[in-house]
């Protein structure tokens, strides 16, 4: 019996349902943790519906806990809970509850850092030390962010509900951002080891849940497709010695075919809906990268033009320049990077360096590599760039 995987799969769902039943995040978390502690003792084999078992046990535990406490607030909560017990028996965690909780965790009134930490804690069930390790932030900082966010949710009465249709575009964006950043931090960590698979896996799991809950939101499908198509290439991203392997040099046989097929199907679904957005376009770009034996750069460039029109950021300009180089040559790409500024981001000078090499301007390339090496945050990337710098024929 694999209690760990049950915990991973059910924790967030159960907490979400208990938040609705108890009206309080802390009580809900305690109750679910109590229930899992009971499960460790009592389960010889998995019950038919582990989620339902946890929800029922957690609710009973919460009643016990509230009975022991005599504050007015606790008595009120207990009355609420007992009242709900008379209603038809819950069959298990309610999926909409998870959706409610993710919108609460990613509420725009919370700081962006707190949104991610809270989502990882409540919906992914990650412990504070795990979140701290993933973001290389001291544990007390993460703990404080979570405590503060929960306090604000309670004090300011941040609602526990799925936003109405007219609010959805504004409210969905921060949710997608949290999942995207969670994945990105796992896939291309800013410091420490380059890839942290636990963050990638959680981001994909939550994106899958979100896509199942909101199948009519094309940007949700687009985000999921983007994550899947990126994740699919992960096995080929590092060489046998842990060194970075760029897309054209990757061994395509290592790519995860199942994830690619799933990602392509989602991109096709998005295309049929014809309501493009930034995540869908990025997913489409990654679909082209993972289609056939080589990338069709003309198509990629056309998609980047489209992306730049809806998302005119320096990062998009940088990535578009890479496609420009493949289609129109390095001189045009260098011109496209003119005026692009990304202070502190190593991939801008690194890209510029690669283009300068292709133009035979080695001295300038060396300087750009030096700049990139100084800015790179992971050892893997520093090693990669240093090797490129050393290979220059100066």
């Amino acid at each position: 019996m694999d209690l760990d995987s049950v915990y991973r799969a059910e924790y967030g769902r159960c907490v979400a349902t208990l938040v609705r039943l108890l009206g309080d995040i802390n009580l809900a978390e305690e109750a679910v943790q109590d229930a899992f502690a009971v499960a460790v003792e009592k389960w010889d084999s998995l019950p038919p519906n582990p989620g339902a078992w946890i929800v029922t046990t957690a609710r009973n535990r919460a009643i016990d806990r509230l009975r022991r406490e005599s504050t007015r607030e606790a008595r009120h909560a207990q009355a609420l809970l007992l009242h709900q017990r008379d209603e038809p028996e819950e069959v298990g965690p309610v999926r909409d509850d998870q959706l409610r909780l993710i919108f609460t965790c990613c509420h725009p009134a919370l700081s962006p850092d707190a949104r991610t930490a809270l989502t990882l804690r409540l919906l992914a069930g990650l412990e504070v030390p795990e979140i701290a390790r993933a973001y290389l932030v001291p544990e007390p900082t993460i703990a404080q962010r979570i405590v503060r966010a929960k306090k604000k949710i309670r004090d300011a009465r941040i609602p526990y509900r799925v936003p109405a249709a007219e609010e959805l575009p504004d409210r969905l964006a921060p949710v997608l951002t949290v999942l995207y950043l969670m994945f990105n931090e796992g896939y291309a960590a800013t410091t420490g080891p380059l890839i942290r698979t636990d963050l990638c896996a959680e981001a994909i799991r939550l994106a899958r849940e979100l896509a199942a809950l909101m199948p009519d939101e094309p940007e949700v499908l687009g985000l999921l497709a983007l994550l899947l198509l990126t994740e699919a290439r992960r096995p080929a991203r590092l060489g046998p010695g842990g060194e970075l392997v760029l897309l054209p040099d990757q061994d395509r046989s290592l790519w995860n075919r199942a994830l690619i097929a799933e990602g392509h199907e989602l991109v096709r679904r998005c295309l049929r809906r014809n309501r493009p957005g930034p995540y869908q376009i990025q997913a489409a770009i990654n679909a082209v990268h993972t289609d056939g034996d080589a990338t069709d750069w003309t198509q990629v460039l056309a998609l980047y033009d489209q992306l730049q029109a809806v998302l005119p950021t320096p990062i998009v300009a940088l990535n578009r320049a890479v496609a420009v180089a493949e289609v129109h040559g390095p001189a045009m790409a260098l011109a496209a990077l003119e005026g692009v500024e990304l202070p502190g981001y190593h991939l801008l000078p690194a890209t510029r360096a690669d283009l300068l090499v292709r133009l035979g301007r080695v001295a300038e390339a060396a300087a750009a590599y030096d700049e990139a090496i100084a800015l790179a945050g992971t050892e893997t990337e520093r090693t990669f760039l240093t090797a490129r710098r050393a290979a220059l024929d100066i």
Binding site: R72, H76, H107, A109, D155, A156, R157, I158, P159, P163
Partner: protein, 118 residues
């Protein structure tokens, strides 16, 4: 229902807007106030005189002292406020967005302590 303070800040010493801009702002605020009343969210609202008209009163050990000026020696001072009753923060934030537009400045939303349950 929960009560929220929607606070408007004014920066001391900044020149007052032109009279026509001021008039426009007053009209806009009147209109939003009417909407708030109609929606049943109204508790109280008002604009304040500049902070240099404030007096801080302090009573300690039976002695009362008075100090000219506001609590905080900062440029940003409370310029006016609404107190609204809303179902939740989202409702308060939606009003705040409208109020911010009407008074042409940022609005700080802050929940009141809950009344002790009767």
């Amino acid at each position: 229902m929960k009560q929220y303070l929607l606070a408007v800040h004014m920066v001391e010493g900044e020149p007052a807007p032109a009279p026509d801009v001021m008039q426009k702002m007053f009209d806009q605020v009147d209109r939003i106030n009417e909407e708030i009343r109609t929606a049943g969210a109204w508790v109280f609202a008002g604009g304040l005189k500049p902070a240099d008209s404030a007096t801080v009163v302090r009573t300690e050990g039976g002695t009362t002292t008075m100090t000219d000026g506001p609590f905080a020696e900062t440029k940003e001072q409370l310029g006016g406020f609404w107190v609204l009753q809303c179902a939740d923060l989202d409702e308060a934030l939606a009003w705040a967005a409208r109020c911010s537009e009407a008074c042409m400045g940022p609005v700080e939303v802050r929940p009141f302590e809950d009344e002790p349950a009767a």
